[in-house]
Symmetry: C2
Subunit: 257 residues, 2 copies
DNA sequence: ACTTGACTCTTACGTAACGTTAGCCACTTT
DNA sequence: AAAGTGGCTAACGTTACGTAAGAGTCAAGT
């Protein structure tokens, strides 16, 4: 309930504003933000007006202004802020365009590297699925996994045709092997070896942490679509895979039987 | 037709590659690009392999890599380039997202500043025109003026409602005044005064240089749509305005009668 | 041979916005 | 009084060169 005009030390202000003490020293050095006064011993103390000014400084910083420019903006009362803002916007949009080009270049480069084996097309990527089915999959996956789906698609597009068909075959093989081991306990070393292959298989598509791998495991049983896919190969396979994956994580993502 | 293996001095290489001599010195200093050999007196000389390496360096630079990273990429043969590229892409996309936010913030800020007078909406912006008419205008203007149309629209959106209606009225007034002066020579001081008002009127929408103002003048007579608009106010007005604008430019963008 | 003018070399400070010691002083608590 | 916490100044480090400064080198013209 207090509202007297308190004075803040450097540390207090730095915590309050989320900047470092050194930053405050620096702003003082360059005359951007001077303390309200100094104690006898030279300690800096800031008050209300300084708080406000610091807020403004930080605002303009987020807009990408340099400190010298901020000084001008705040000190020069006749400053045409709107004009300046428009100019900033222009500059930022240029940067944006640049970035787009860079990203495009990187993608081209990845393509070129991968094209040694022949690139994959969107069509080929989803061949074997009906279009609607594929779209369904993407939609649902996007809902659940958000950002990561695009990552997966990126990776697939980067794969060569050969690599892609090999990958698809690999998936089938893993399913078959697992089907044959379904009567064993998930702690079995044979099972765990296959699980590891599954893990590495998945890793081809995106960077998968333990948390995500466990999440994936749960999705295999929670999501009807996925569950059906695996159970069609062999009844109970989805659940078996789920438990095996969790076991694999329990083992520290390593095969230890 | 020569293809012997020539040696390049620093300056020759710098011109060839479009970098500064200092840059080559710097690259030598940090061990990123050493000359093929040095002359007795210490002069640097570069050959084919160095040319190639420099090309690669510049490529990675455009992708936003730091020099130290480039050194790693080029020196470490076991470097996983694709992985690195993907990482770079990720970083760049983050930057991109940041920029978008910044631009949005700037736009909000401009809005807030301008909102003292009440913002204008898209509808209000084109009220008085039929939708198709408005779209036509935009399309054509975009073709001819490209980038600048968006600038104009931005400015209009930033205007307050009051300001906008005032601006529209201003345009009509200018047209009327010009209509009444159409019998005078364009060098007349009265005419030039009105032309200056026109110039300032236009300046509200975008930063108009002499070249662009002249271009605009020519468009008024060259483009049927515009010509019709002015001639409807008063026959011959388009041409009169055109000449008056050029005269204004000839006078150094000032009213000197 | 000598003077230019064009080049080259090394050395080293400047840039932006702080981060990071380092050495020393102040203030408070145990 | 010792210890812990905070403050101050001074000064180097970071990135990729730009920009002199001072001095030697080389080919061409006189």
């Amino acid at each position: 309930m207090e509202n007297g005009n308190h004075s803040y030390s450097v540390k207090e202000l730095s915590k309050l504003a989320g900047v470092s003490v050194r930053t405050l020293h620096h702003y003082d050095e360059i005359g951007l933000l001077s303390p309200a006064y100094r104690s006898e011993k030279g300690y800096r103390f800031y008050e209300r007006p300084e708080l406000f000014r610091l807020q403004q400084i930080m605002f303009y910083k987020t807009l990408g202004y340099e400190l010298a420019e901020i000084k001008n903006i705040l000190d020069d009362n006749g400053f045409d802020l709107v004009k300046s803002l428009r100019f900033q916007r222009k500059q930022l949009m240029k940067k944006q365009a640049n970035l787009e080009e860079l990203i495009a270049t990187i993608e081209k480069t990845i393509h070129e590297i991968k094209s040694q084996e022949g690139m994959i097309t969107d069509k080929e990527m989803y061949e074997g699925f009906s279009k609607e089915e594929a779209n369904q999959m993407r939609m649902e996956a996007t809902e659940r996994w958000g950002d990561e789906v695009s990552q997966v698609e990126q990776r697939i597009k980067e794969m060569g045709k050969k690599e892609w068909s090999e990958t698809k075959q690999e998936a089938e093989e893993i399913n078959l092997w697992l089907s044959n081991l379904i009567h064993k306990p998930v702690t079995d070393i044979e099972v765990q070896k296959v699980i590891m292959m599954h893990f590495e298989h998945i890793s081809k598509f995106y960077d998968v942490s333990e948390v995500r791998y466990r999440g994936l495991a749960d999705m295999y049983v929670a999501d009807e679509r996925f569950k059906a896919h695996y159970d069609k190969v062999k009844p109970g396979l989805a659940e078996f895979l789920n438990k095996g994956m969790h076991q694999f994580c329990d083992n520290g993502m390593k095969v230890i039987g």
